[in-house]
Subunit: 445 residues, 2 copies
């Protein structure tokens, strides 16, 4: 038996019961909203084959946690890794269950993912993502992009967080622009465009120069990457672009339509604008792309992101399936919400009614009483362990338990104490109900 | 881009949306029951330091999945492993948050665990466990054992599974018996006693002989390990034991009291008996120990197990904290319940009302209509993608969606179709509600 000190592991967050209760309420809320739009839930294993995880490119390798079995020879297990997102598992899931899946396949998935990143604010090694995707068979109406964004915005607006800014763009515009630009290093350009808000115009200019662009190209790139517009000033975008092409026009039409359809569904606190600097590193996006950020914290990483793709199953030998998806970074958003006070810890105990025990010989009687309360939908526990009333009341108080049942075995009388104002009155155990709704979780919306 | 076939990974189960919906309903049910007894929820990271995981002994090593980062030098990360149960993480959690935890600490935890076992019926490499424990500070009333067993039985009886047999024993009886027996190989004896139901009396006799026991000792061991009794025949146990000692008497008193107090709370379908063959391999149990099995499938592994321990934090430098806990093997039980029909797949879609679309130009109007239904608590989706009514009805039918909303843009009339009997009638979108409750999940109890 070793004698060690327990340590927290950096990047692997863990919450107190009070904060976990709040997180659970968030997850329940997101679940309810996603289901209200007709999305079903799936879960996939924590692991995928390394070949599946690596299909997206070598870049991803560095973040993958691989599984090994100490003291065992290399075996099948050594070819497994923890998933780093929920999109790769979705693609594998759809490929594996292709014949039984009903298309369009509307699914949400709330699971932990793992990335071997250096931990910093908003970046963890283990975190929960809430993904919602719809996968069409052969085709997928653009309407689904709007539905999905609406569902994500709806979910976010139920969480009581601060204002959120959604930036939308369309990969066709970016692609068309890059073609017109005539650079041989399109990939490098995208990387710079993607991070212009981080590195600024000067930094971006330098990097574009390093990527081989001439001054005119750099100028156009900067103009492109700093172009934003609300839906009511959308017509300005074409001028700002500096180029025109069929591909660009098609992307612009899609972007405008999505924004126009989405705008009426944005609640107050959610702004939606076009922003050409949105590029999304992942190369499978083909149409609408979007990111959501906390308006008050523009430096904070994106809290959700996604887009349209034409080929979810590119790594598997199936016909292409078009889809659109969005991922909410739950852990990132939740820890921020706790830190800034948008979310508050709930009571550390789900108990609504604590039954005191004045004599150990009454334990069975009180156990039965508690059981009857539970049957009537009241979370009830007996305070076993100490016959001293004061200590029992302290137990209830420290846990935020709103009501205490006082059964006196000598007189066989029942009283109930409201811990809010310490008032007491006679109670009938067969009919009593909490006066105030003191659910462990906030009331459902 | 590789061209591969998607494969299932043995031992890592994955369900269809219909079966996942049922599993989610099970988890919600267990959550509700545990919370109704005042247990709070926590989650711990999927990983612990290898030193923490290994503190239980070398035996466990073989099942641990260790994390590595391919292409990286050995670093801190290489000292992490996936947890193989939820007890070790609980001990580390309590040690780490010792100063902020309210004792007695009543917590439940529903999470996946990983073991590198060979997959077989009821044994997976990734599976979900539902653990419920109460940890006392310095002392813990025996009442909590009863409460915890009651909560576990209550949860199981809400799942609609077949009969469950609970076998109880007490480590003090086993320990006292082994001392009286006078063997030098107590550990070997426990291992044989633990598996006598699997290997039979003859097999057990052979193994005990191999462990160095003489014929008289073997005879007593077999008698001991085959001793069972219901609460009403409990007095017979003392005779069957063949030995008497203070330790044995103390264990017998505790066992009888726990059984006597628990019996009134066992619903029909749940039997509770004393069984001295229950040993539980883990060496930290010190008092009451118990196992639950499916009565109809005695060969099937235990569906839940647990017991009383005096020293949760033995691997950490803290004072001993006594506790009692039980773990329900959710994945094992759930897959069996699906296989034998105790649990049935739910509808693959959570949608209660599907809105048909007769003209693409109405998309925004219908989107708004769906939104109003959602606001009134009805899960509603618009059937985008095809304007053909027949295909839309087929969409609803295949997903088990109970109601379809038919909006005719030409006449601006609303009709609602009951998919159960294909009947249609006029509907008012501002007041309509489902006649039957068609929740995705079964109604809460």
């Amino acid at each position: 038996v070793s004698d060690r000190k327990a340590r927290a592991i950096g990047g692997f967050p863990e919450f107190s019961p009070s904060i976990r209760a709040t997180e659970l309420h968030w997850i329940d809320t997101i679940r309810s909203v996603f289901e209200s739009y007709g999305y079903c839930n799936i879960e996939t294993p924590a692991v995928e084959e390394l070949a599946t995880l690596r299909a997206k490119g070598d870049d991803a390798d560095r973040e993958i946690y691989q599984l090994t079995r100490p003291g065992r020879e290399e075996s099948l297990d050594s070819r497994l890794g923890l998933h780093f997102d929920l999109t790769v598992p979705l693609a594998r899931y759809v490929a594996l269950h292709y014949n039984s899946i009903l298309f369009p396949f509307k699914r949400y998935q709330i699971q932990r993912v793992w990335r071997g990143e250096r931990p910093q604010e908003g970046r963890f090694r283990e975190f929960t993502q809430c993904d919602i995707d719809v996968i069409g068979h052969e085709s997928l109406a653009n309407e689904f992009e709007v539905e999905l964004l609406e569902a994500a915005i709806d979910a976010l607006s139920h969480l009581g967080i601060g204002d959120v800014s959604f930036q939308l763009s369309n990969r066709k515009i970016l692609e068309g622009f890059l073609r017109c630009l005539g650079t041989e290093n399109a990939e490098g350009c995208v990387r710079v465009i993607d991070k212009i808000s981080k590195i600024g115009i000067e930094g971006a200019s330098r990097e574009l120069h390093r990527n081989g662009l001439n001054p005119q190209q750099i100028d156009r790139c900067i103009r492109f990457a700093t172009t934003t517009a609300e839906i009511d000033s959308f017509h300005k975008l074409t001028d700002a672009l500096g180029y025109g092409s069929e591909l660009i026009d098609s992307g612009m039409r899609e972007l405008e339509e999505t924004m126009r359809r989405l705008s009426p569904f944005a609640p107050s606190g959610v702004s939606i604008s076009a922003d050409f600097s949105i590029a999304r590193g992942l190369n499978y996006y083909t149409g609408t792309i979007f990111e959501g950020r906390l308006t008050e914290y523009p430096e904070f990483p994106t809290i959700c992101a996604g887009g349209r793709y034409e080929n979810l199953l590119e790594t598997f030998a199936r016909r292409p399936l078009p889809g659109v998806g969005i991922s909410i970074g739950l852990t990132r958003l939740f820890t921020k919400a706790i830190a800034v006070g948008w979310a508050v810890p709930l009571r550390p105990s789900p108990t609504e009614l604590m039954l005191t025990i004045d004599d150990e010989s009454n334990a069975d009687r009180l156990r039965e009483l508690a059981r009857d309360f539970r049957r009537r939908g009241i979370n009830a526990e007996v305070c076993f362990g100490s016959p001293i009333l004061e200590r029992q009341l302290r137990y209830a108080d420290r846990r935020g338990i709103p009501y205490v049942w006082l059964y006196c075995s000598r007189t066989a009388t029942h009283r109930v104490r409201d811990m809010n104002d310490s008032s007491e009155k006679a109670g009938d155990p067969t009919t009593w109900k909490p006066e105030r709704k003191h659910s462990h979780r906030a009331a459902s919306f």
